[in-house]
C-alpha cells in the first residue's frame, strides 16, 4: 500500500521538493552575503557599544525582504499541507467513490489508512523540516544580531516546531476529510481550526509549557524609558505612569510590572509634577521615583529555554497529530454508508410503496 500511496502522491511530492530546491538555491546564494555583512558590521559594533544605528541597517534591504518572505512561508506551509494534502487524503476517495475500489482490495482498510497517513504525513514533516532548517540556517546572523528568536514574533518561524505544525495540520486535514467526506468543506474546516489553534497556542499554551521565571527586584531607574502622570502638575489626583525596558537579553517577556513596596501597581501612585509636569525631566522624574522605592516584577521565559520550548511545543503538536490519526483509524473501522448510498437508498421510497413497482425489464 505504501508503494501505491507513493504512486498516487509522487507528482505532488516532486513539486514540493522542486519548490524546496528553488528556495535552497535562493537562500544558498544570498546566505553567505548576509553572513559577510553581519561579520563586517554587527560584530565590530559590539566592540564599540554603538550598535543602534548598525542594527537599524541590518539586515540590508533585499535580505530583509527575503527574510520576511521566508518567515511567511514557514508559517504558511503547514497550513497549506493540511489543506491540500490532509483534507483531500480520504475525502477525495469518498467524493469520487474510489473508496469502494480501495476498500475491496486484498488489504484491510486500517492498513490502507495507515499507509496513507504514514507516508504523506512523514513527507509533510520532511518538507516543513527541510524548509525550516534552511530558513533557520539562513537567518542565523539575524538571530545573532537581535537575540529575539524566543519571542512571539519569530518563535514559530524557525527551529523544529514547523515539523510539529505540519504533522498536526496534516492529521487535522485528514480527520476533517474523514468526518465530512467532502474535500472543499474539509479544506475550509481545516483552515479555520488550524488558524485558531495557531493563534491560541502562543498566547495561552506556550508560556506555560515550562513554568516561567518570576523575578522581583528594586527598579533599575536606568531602565525607565517613558514616564508621565495623568492630570499632571495639578496635584489633585491623577495617576503615575512608568514604562520600563528591563534588561533581560533575549528573553520572552510575558509580564512587566512596576510595583510599590506594598505590592500595588505603580500606576496607583498619585501623579506628580516631577513626572509629567511641564518642567519635568528624566532626572527630576528619576529622583522622584527613587523616593518611592519602587520594585519591578518580571515574568519571562529566558533565552536559554529556546530549544526546550521548541521541543515541548513540537511534542505537543505531534501528540495532537497522533491523537487525530487514532481518531481516523477508529472511525474507518466503523463502516458507515457513504453519502452516495444514502441518496441512492432514499430516492425510490415512493416507488416501493406503489402497489406495482416499475422495473424496466423490457429495456434489455
Amino acid at each position: 500500500m505504501i508503494r501505491f500511496t507513493w504512486l498516487r502522491f509522487r507528482t505532488q511530492a516532486l513539486i514540493a521538493l522542486g519548490a524546496l530546491v528553488i528556495i535552497a538555491v535562493v537562500l544558498g546564494l544570498t546566505g553567505p552575503h548576509l553572513a559577510d555583512v553581519y561579520n563586517a558590521t554587527v560584530v565590530p559594533c559590539h566592540r564599540y557599544n554603538d550598535c543602534a544605528a548598525v542594527l537599524q541597517a541590518f539586515p540590508p534591504a533585499p535580505d530583509r525582504t527575503i527574510l520576511g518572505l521566508m518567515n511567511d512561508l514557514v508559517i504558511a506551509v503547514p497550513g497549506l499541507i493540511g489543506i491540500f494534502w490532509g483534507a483531500p487524503l480520504v475525502a477525495r476517495e469518498f467524493e469520487t467513490g474510489t473508496f469502494r475500489l480501495a476498500w475491496t482490495q486484498g488489504i484491510s482498510r486500517t492498513r490502507w489508512l495507515a499507509a496513507k497517513l504514514g507516508l504523506v504525513g512523514a513527507f509533510s514533516m520532511l518538507v516543513a523540516g527541510l524548509l525550516s532548517l534552511m530558513v533557520t540556517w539562513w537567518s542565523g546572523p539575524f538571530d545573532q544580531a537581535y537575540q529575539v528568536r524566543i519571542t512571539l514574533a519569530v518563535f514559530h518561524t524557525s527551529g523544529i516546531v514547523p515539523v510539529g505544525y505540519a504533522a498536526f495540520a496534516f492529521a487535522l486535514g485528514a480527520t476533517a476529510g474523514m468526518l465530512i467526506r467532502r474535500t472543499l468543506p474539509a479544506m475550509a474546516v481545516t483552515l479555520v481550526i488550524f488558524a485558531a489553534v495557531q493563534f491560541a497556542v502562543p498566547f495561552w499554551v506556550r508560556p506555560h509549557l515550562i513554568p516561567p521565571v518570576t523575578t522581583t527586584s528594586a527598579l533599575n531607574l536606568g531602565s525607565v524609558v517613558e514616564w508621565g502622570s495623568t492630570d499632571a502638575g495639578q496635584g489633585n489626583g491623577g495617576d503615575l505612569f512608568v514604562l520600563t525596558q528591563p534588561d533581560v537579553p533575549g528573553a520572552w517577556l510575558l509580564s512587566n510590572e512596576v510595583i510599590t513596596p506594598a505590592g500595588r501597581s505603580a500606576s496607583t501612585e498619585p501623579g506628580t509634577q516631577a513626572c509629567g509636569g511641564g518642567a519635568s525631566t528624566l532626572q527630576s522624574c528619576r529622583a522622584y521615583l527613587a523616593t518611592l522605592h519602587l520594585r519591578q516584577e518580571l515574568i519571562y521565559q529566558p533565552a536559554s529555554r529556546y530549544w526546550a520550548l521548541q521541543w515541548y511545543e513540537t511534542a505537543l503538536y505531534l501528540a495532537g497529530a497522533l491523537l487525530l490519526s487514532g481518531l481516523c483509524s477508529l472511525r474507518i473501522r466503523r463502516r458507515r454508508p457513504a453519502g452516495g448510498d444514502v441518496r441512492r437508498a432514499g430516492r425510490p421510497t415512493d416507488l416501493q410503496n406503489r402497489p406495482r413497482p416499475a422495473p424496466s425489464p423490457q429495456s434489455a
Partner: protein, 297 residues
C-alpha cells in the same frame, strides 16, 4: 454444496429507513446468481454488506464463511461497485500495479492479457476511458485478484447494449475458465436470463424468492381458465399473481404437484413473468412473513 454468501435476519438501516430488512439467504457456491429487483430494493446494500463496505444494522452475514471486511475475506472476493470507480488520474497500467501490490493472489499475466484483448492502452488515464472501458477495467481488477467470489453491482447499467453484451460475454468466459462464483445485481431481467443460473428476487428491501432458475421455472405455471373455476384453489398452490376478467381468470401459481384439473390451461412461465409477478406482489404479503421459497441445489 457450501454457501458463498449466507445471511440470517440481515438488515441495514440508513437513518430511519430500512434499505434491507430481515434478509435470510444462502447462495450456493459455483453459481452465477442474478440479484434482481426494482431500483432501491436493497440490491446495492446487500452487495455492499457482502463486500464489507457496510456494517449490518441487524442480523449476520458471512461470505465464504468469514465476516466481510477481514483481510482473508477481502483477498478472496472481487467487487465491482455500481459506478465502476477507478482513479481518474491514474493510468490503466497504474491500476494494474495497484492490483498487484494490494492483492496477494494477483494474477498479473491474466490482467495484462485481458487488457490486451480489450484493446486498452496501458498508458491511458482511467478518467479518459469510456464507460464501457472503465467497467471492463474494474472487472479486470476484480477478476485478476483470482477471487473465489465475484460481486458485481449493476455492472452493465451504464453500458450501451453492444458493450453490455460484450461485457457479459467476457464475464461468462472468465467464470467458466476460473470456476468463480458470481453474484450480480441487475434490474434488467434479460441480462440475468442470459447469464444467471440462480435467481434472487429482492423488492422493497426483502427477499421474495431465491432459487435455481430452472427449478423455479419448473415450479411455476401460468394457468388460465373460466372465471367460475376460481376459488377455492387447491391447498398445495401458492398463488403469486391473479387477474380476472369477466370470463376468465389468469393465475401464476407455484406448486410442485401436477395440475390435473382440466378446467385450467397450463402454460410455462418465462423468467421475466416470474420476476415481475414476485416484484408486483403487494408489500404486506411479504411483511406478514409469508414463507419464502428456498430451493436446495
Amino acid at each position: 454444496m457450501s454457501a458463498v454468501v449466507e445471511a440470517g435476519g440481515l438488515g441495514k438501516r440508513y437513518r430511519r429507513r430500512w434499505a434491507l430488512a430481515d434478509c435470510t439467504l444462502a447462495i450456493p457456491a459455483g453459481r452465477v446468481v442474478g440479484l434482481v429487483g426494482p431500483n432501491g430494493a436493497g440490491k446495492t446494500t446487500l452487495l455492499q454488506l457482502a463486500a464489507g463496505l457496510l456494517e449490518p444494522t441487524a442480523g449476520t452475514i458471512t461470505v465464504l464463511g468469514k465476516r466481510p471486511g477481514v483481510p482473508a475475506q477481502l483477498r478472496a472476493v472481487g467487487f465491482v461497485a455500481q459506478d465502476t470507480p477507478t482513479y481518474a488520474g491514474l493510468s490503466v497500467a497504474g491500476h494494474l500495479r495497484m492490483g498487484g501490490w494490494l492483492n496477494p493472489d494477483w494474477d498479473g499475466e491474466l490482467a495484462e492479457r485481458r487488457i490486451r484483448q480489450l484493446g486498452l492502452d496501458l498508458r491511458q488515464r482511467a478518467g479518459s476511458l469510456s464507460g464501457g472501458q472503465r467497467a471492463q477495467l474494474a472487472l479486470t481488477l476484480a477478476v485478476a485478484k483470482r477471487p473465489e467470489l465475484l460481486l458485481l453491482d449493476e455492472p452493465v447499467a451504464s453500458l450501451d447494449p453492444l458493450a453490455r453484451r460484450e461485457f457479459l460475454q467476457v464475464l461468462m468466459e472468465t467464470v467458466a475458465e476460473h470456476g468463480i462464483s458470481v453474484v450480480l445485481s441487475s434490474h434488467l431481467i434479460a441480462d440475468v436470463e442470459r447469464v444467471c443460473d440462480y435467481l434472487v428476487v429482492l423488492t422493497a428491501s426483502r427477499v421474495r424468492v431465491a432459487g435455481d432458475t430452472d427449478a423455479l421455472l419448473a415450479l411455476h405455471h401460468r394457468l388460465s381458465g373460466p372465471r367460475r373455476a376460481a376459488r377455492p384453489y387447491p391447498a398445495s398452490w401458492e398463488v403469486i399473481e391473479e387477474s380476472h376478467t369477466d370470463k376468465q381468470t389468469v393465475l401464476l401459481v407455484r406448486t410442485n404437484e401436477e395440475i390435473l384439473d382440466p378446467a385450467w390451461t397450463v402454460r410455462p412461465v418465462s423468467l421475466e413473468d416470474l420476476v415481475l409477478a414476485y416484484m408486483s406482489q403487494p408489500n404486506d404479503a411479504a411483511r406478514a412473513g409469508r414463507p419464502r421459497l428456498e430451493i436446495a441445489s
